[in-house]
């Protein structure tokens, strides 16, 4: 049927929610069999436009329900309730290698969901819209407080959950790109965990002195959490992605100050020279830089730099000495770090030492390196600015395939929250491995 129906009714519920909440998109008042395209548009903070779209056909009642009806084609297909978010990609004509990251968490991510007549794949801005709604996606729940931290020469932001507290605490570390990235800590605080996002590669102190921070810096951050009047000093976790995992494992095993209730390491590795500081770790990566490969698009593959997993104990964290529950999240198509191989080696070390009851490994087929909170767009490769002096820009291959990676993000986040809740909010007995996750 090609007749334009009168008054198409589009609703997205909820129209305001956290970024990890699902929404339901309903289109009503169509003619049965009517062909339409549902389109999502988002303009991110640096001005780039992202879009996703899917083709649907109205059922006999003249309705399309994205949670129940299959997309026939588009940036995703099949029944995908949140496909319009995780399949967002830069609009045609955009620069290559973009990655979407919200830096200002005090404003929402605004997405416009629209309905167009027919099965369209391009030229959305030129077409006649049938209906459109705006949806707000928030990293900060109402009542969450954002507190910049500068004590002890830290460059950090603490997010306190709504309510009187006290709350369990968490130190949140991102990877080798540096900067102070707040969104995951804000989201964790929205789930009841007082979380501190810490910039440890490009903090103010490094900019001023030219020197990288050492272990003291992380211990100071831990102490700030431990001593905070609204945080339970005995219930503090660390969560790291990529290089952040490197730091997390080092602190968890070797620090005399940091006593963690649990740790989460996403896309990380225990492979690092023991003793010495961050410079030594980065130097050891550089030493193996000759193992860098390029894919057919000249994108950089760095996974081989840490391979083979060393047998020399001075080149990896002694996982047998870990005393808290650990959740490892890895993507098996990770092209940036050999995270799956590292996880297998960690398991072996812990099996041998007798502490593998503390270990849970979530390993996802066809997922890549950047395992982020759910429903965020996927980047198989993106431009990466190194923190070297002078910095260089390269196109890094992270790996992963869109659908599998998006499912991994959703599953991993849910299980990460369960793991954190059990170990931070749970009873005095620390949960062991989570075979029921």
């Amino acid at each position: 049927m090609s007749m334009k129906p009168l008054c198409v009714k589009l609703s997205v519920q909820p129209s305001r929610g956290l970024v990890d909440e699902k929404f339901t998109i309903l289109v009503q008042n169509l003619l049965p069999g009517f062909q339409l395209t549902i389109h999502a548009l988002h303009q991110c903070e640096d001005g780039h436009s992202w879009e996703a779209f899917a083709h649907y056909t109205a059922d006999a009642t003249g309705t399309v329900n994205v949670s129940e009806d299959p997309s026939l084609d588009g940036t995703y297909s099949g029944v995908e309730q949140m496909g319009l978010l995780w399949s967002l990609r830069p609009v045609p004509g955009s620069k290559y290698g973009l990655r979407m990251r919200k830096m200002n968490v005090q404003t929402p991510m605004v997405v416009t969901i629209s309905v167009y007549q027919g099965h369209r794949t391009e030229g959305f801005l030129d077409q006649v819209l049938l209906a459109s709604v705006m949806v707000e996606r928030w990293y900060m729940a109402p009542g969450v407080q954002r507190v910049p931290i500068t004590d002890g020469k830290l460059t950090a932001t603490l997010f306190l959950p709504s309510g009187p507290g006290p709350f369990p605490g968490l130190l949140d570390l991102w990877g080798g790109g540096g900067k102070l990235v707040e969104y995951r800590a804000a989201l964790l605080a929205s789930h009841g965990i007082a979380s501190m996002a810490l910039d440890y590669l490009t903090p103010q102190i490094t900019k001023e002195t030219g020197k990288m921070v050492d272990n003291d810096y992380f211990e100071t951050a831990y102490r700030v959490l431990e001593q905070h009047p609204q945080i339970l000093g005995s219930r503090i976790a660390m969560l790291g992605l990529s290089f952040g995992s490197t730091v997390t494992l080092r602190m968890a095993v070797y620090s005399q100050v940091v006593k963690l209730s649990c740790a989460v390491c996403i896309s990380g590795s225990h492979v690092q020279p023991i003793g010495g500081g961050l410079e030594q770790i980065l130097a050891s990566f550089s030493k193996h830089a000759y193992k860098t490969r390029l894919d057919e698009n000249n994108q950089v593959i760095w996974r081989d730099l840490m391979l083979p997993i060393p047998t020399d104990p001075s080149l990896k964290v002694d996982m047998g000495r870990l005393q808290c529950p650990l959740l490892l999240v890895v993507g098996e198509d990770d092209q940036n770090w050999p995270t799956h191989e590292s996880a297998m080696d960690v398991k072996e070390m812990m099996d041998q030492a007798g502490n593998s009851h503390l270990l849970t490994v979530l390993s996802y087929k066809n997922a890549g390196h950047l395992i982020e909170p759910p429903f965020m767009p996927f980047a198989r490769a993106s431009t990466f600015k190194t923190i070297t002096n002078p910095p260089t820009k390269v196109m890094v291959l992270w790996g992963g395939e869109l659908v599998a990676h998006s499912r991994a993000q959703e599953d991993a986040w849910r299980k990460t929250l369960v793991f954190l809740r059990e170990n931070l909010y749970g009873g005095m007995k620390h949960g062991a491995s989570f075979s029921n996750l």
């Binding site: 129906p5 009168l6 008054c7 009714k9 589009l10 609703s11 129209s15 305001r16 009503q28 008042n29 003619l31 605004v110 416009t112 629209s114 006649v128 819209l129 049938l130 209906a131 459109s132 709604v133 705006m134 949806v135 707000e136 729940a141 109402p142 009542g143 959950p161 709504s162 309510g163 009187p164 009841g192």
Partner: protein
């Protein structure tokens, strides 16, 4: 569970879950909202109404140890979260209207439009209440909240039907409104206006009408003030309850037989939805609805009428999860009285929830549907 509604510092509202009967019992997903009431020690006759719809209503949901009934402010909760409740969806636009003597606020949904339109009218309290129009816009209807007299000045309001016709046309003529799909939405006096327009106006042709707690028992002609004064002529029929709250429903009885004393509802030619509570102590709205049905049956247009009547619901049938107000302050002749609206909290809250669902379905059927307007739900 305890809720502290933080609005202005003057007013906070706390709900107990345990007192004789409690503020709600049993499994009630939204009980913490609709059973809210002023904290002990508050002034009498308060009514909770959101004036600034551009910011959310903030509700603190907290957990306390043990079964607590009093003294919430003196204790520390175990945990607490803040929730936001919005009348305006993202992207809804708010436009001040001051043209052709008409005062109001128009809310336009997000999107290309055009949209069906609504003229939204409240009752005898006066002023400009925007929240229902904002909520209707969040559901896809370009809605104008209409101001038609100042608070406490209803009996001197000089407006006649043509004010409302002008207001209706402002909505109808707006570039983002579908001119053949504009309806009327009223409560109490607002319903009376809607019914009058639907029956008597040669200028406006509403697509459909939603009339909550309204009636048809007034003669044609006159200003709003005249209409109101006509209602309250029989002051001797006002009763007082045991708290000295005024019960006005007697003034509306008996429903006259003389057709010249009533709106000629036989002339209505659009679908009309009447929503009433059978414990309405302010006006005999159910009796009025029954009489309207008889008149429409005799005239042959009863197929346009849908009646929703709710046991133990009162006069102020508002959008769902709003607290129930059995009696609140009202300014009459510059005097503060407390009017009994009626209703019992749980059935009234159920009525609000159920009627809103049905109102939205009725509006969708009549304003959005491709086929012509359907009368019965």
């Amino acid at each position: 569970m305890y809720i502290n509604l933080r609005r202005k510092p003057l007013l906070s509202v706390i709900a107990d879950d345990l007192s004789c009967g409690g503020t709600y019992t049993g499994k009630e997903a939204m009980g913490l909202l609709w059973s809210m009431r002023p904290v002990p020690g508050s002034r009498e006759g308060l009514r909770l109404r959101k004036l600034n719809v551009c910011i959310p209503q903030l509700v603190n949901i907290s957990v306390y140890s043990g079964h607590v009934g009093v003294g919430f402010r003196e204790q520390d909760p175990l945990a607490s979260v803040l929730t936001e409740r919005w009348y305006m969806a993202p992207g809804v636009r708010r436009i001040d209207i001051k043209e052709k003597g008409v005062r109001g606020t128009l809310f336009i949904p997000h999107g290309p439009g055009p949209f069906p339109g609504l003229l939204d009218m409240w009752g005898g309290g006066g002023g400009l209440l925007e929240y229902r129009a904002a909520l209707l816009a969040s559901h896809g209807y370009a809605s104008m909240a209409l101001e038609y007299f100042n608070p406490a000045e209803v009996n001197t309001a000089e407006l006649e039907l043509n004010y409302f016709e002008t207001a209706f046309n402002i909505v109808r003529d707006h570039p983002q409104v579908m001119s053949d799909r504009v309806g009327l939405f009223g409560l109490s006096l607002g319903s009376i206006v809607s019914i009058s327009l639907a029956a008597w106006s040669s200028v406006v042709k509403p697509r459909c009408c939603v009339c909550i707690s309204g009636n048809h028992t007034h003669a044609r002609g006159g200003t709003i003030g005249d209409v109101f004064n006509e209602f309250i002529t029989n002051v001797h029929k006002v009763r007082m309850d045991e708290n000295n709250y005024e019960i006005w429903r007697g003034m509306g009885l008996p429903i006259p037989d003389d057709i010249s004393q009533k709106v000629d509802v036989g002339k209505i030619n659009c679908p009309i939805l009447l929503v009433n509570g059978d414990d309405d102590q302010n006006w005999p709205t159910v009796e009025s609805a029954e009489d309207m049905a008889q008149m429409m049956r005799a005239a042959g247009n009863e197929h346009l009428l849908t009646r929703l009547e709710y046991p133990d619901a009162g006069h102020l049938i508002e959008p769902p999860y709003s607290p129930h107000f059995r009696a609140t302050k009202f300014l009459k002749d510059g005097q503060k009285v407390i009017l009994l609206w009626g209703g019992t909290t749980k059935p009234h809250s159920d009525a609000q929830e159920d009627s809103w669902k049905k109102i939205l379905a009725f509006l969708q059927q009549n304003m959005y549907s491709s086929s012509g307007p359907r009368a019965k739900l």
